[in-house]
Amino acid sequence: MSRTPPNTEEPKLLPGEPAPRQPVSPATPPSTEIIPAFVPMRQLSELPKDELEQLAEEFGLSVGDYKSSQHLVAAIHDRRQMIGGLDRETLLEVIRWGRRPVLANLNKEQLAQEIVRIKSMRFEGLSQQGLVVLTKLRGVKVNATDDVPTLVNKLKKKEGLFTRMNRKRRAMLGSLVSNMLGESESAKTGNDYQFVPPADAVGASSTTATPSPKSAMPSIKEEIEDAGLFSGIAGRIKRSADDYLNQKLDEIESRIDRKLDEIDRRLAEWRDKEIANRIRILKITLWASVIVGAFSLIYAYVHELVYPSPAPPVPQKQADIRSK
């Protein structure tokens, strides 16, 4: 755990507020960018003790190591500075390794908080940079020259004897349960990890589909090893129930979609049929009008020929002129 000497003279401010520059410990690189996880409304030192402790735990600091709130504030500040200096891509790599269900667009602090929750001690598939990030976030000092075995050793040392024993015990229990359930290691799916899509992108594109629950599911043995017997089994049951519910919801959704498509298709058919009928009625009416008009024309012509109508009366003056 990297500690910094508490500075009781100066108040610790959240990033983003006009704070004096803090000396950066040699273990942490100089910060280049700090993105706060929330809008800082108050100074850290003004936070109540329980909130401060909760914040410290979220950043992977063990509260018991700090004597006073001022010490804790300094440690949180240092931790945030350190996180600000980490590479975002490496943080995402560790998230993928830990198979944490997060959004890909989280900021560095949120990613670091997720990484802190990863308790796994199986480091296969993690690059050296990823190991460095994980080691730093677990509060172990890292040198620039540390290679992978050294980093792994440091992490194992940090774990402690009793924690390791507990983990081994849980692993044994896990393999026992796994054997009882008949779940083999080969059954573990090797699907690629996918980040949780943002809420507005769900359904918008097939490439950002929700990851298959199985792809992010560790084996029961690993779950029990990481979380304990009851928590592991409970987590597995909960996940299975979630899978079942998701499957049923997908089925219902697809059924509703099919119904809606069917309704739309029938409505379009009805519309076309209705318009065709109206046009046909109009056509019949027009044919009738034209036939009657033609008949009327012929009738009028024949009638004039057979029964000529009387000539219009000629005015008297015109008749006189004609007689003269």
């Binding site: 046009i279 046909r280 033609a294 000539a311």
Partner: protein, 101 residues
């Protein structure tokens, strides 16, 4: 004493009344639809958009044969109407010329 042709009178009166009646009914119906579809309720706006989409989805090709026939029949009807008038003028002129001889 005015010379009233009752057949003509009946025909013109019926035509006028039927035309006015049909026009008023059509306009009334259209106005009622417009008022209903221009409502601000979200379901009404949904229906409005749906109706617009269905209108845009209409394909002229499906009905183009009947539509063209209707247009041609309208032209023929107007020509017949014109021919009626021309024939009446022709016979009037003919009788007038005959009487003046």
């Amino acid at each position: 004493m005015p010379d009233v042709d009752f057949f003509q009178f009946f025909r013109y009166t019926l035509g006028t009344i039927a035309t006015i009646y049909a026009t008023i009914l059509t306009l009334q119906s259209m106005w009622a639809w417009i008022v209903w579809l221009s409502g601000h309720d979200k379901y009404i706006s949904l229906v409005r958009r749906y109706v617009i989409v269905h209108g845009l989805r209409l394909r002229f090709k499906s009905f183009w044969g009947d539509v063209i026939i209707c247009m041609l029949l309208c032209v023929v009807f107007l020509l017949l109407w014109y021919a009626h008038g021309q024939m009446r003028h022709m016979f009037t002129a003919y009788h007038a010329a005959k009487a003046s001889l």
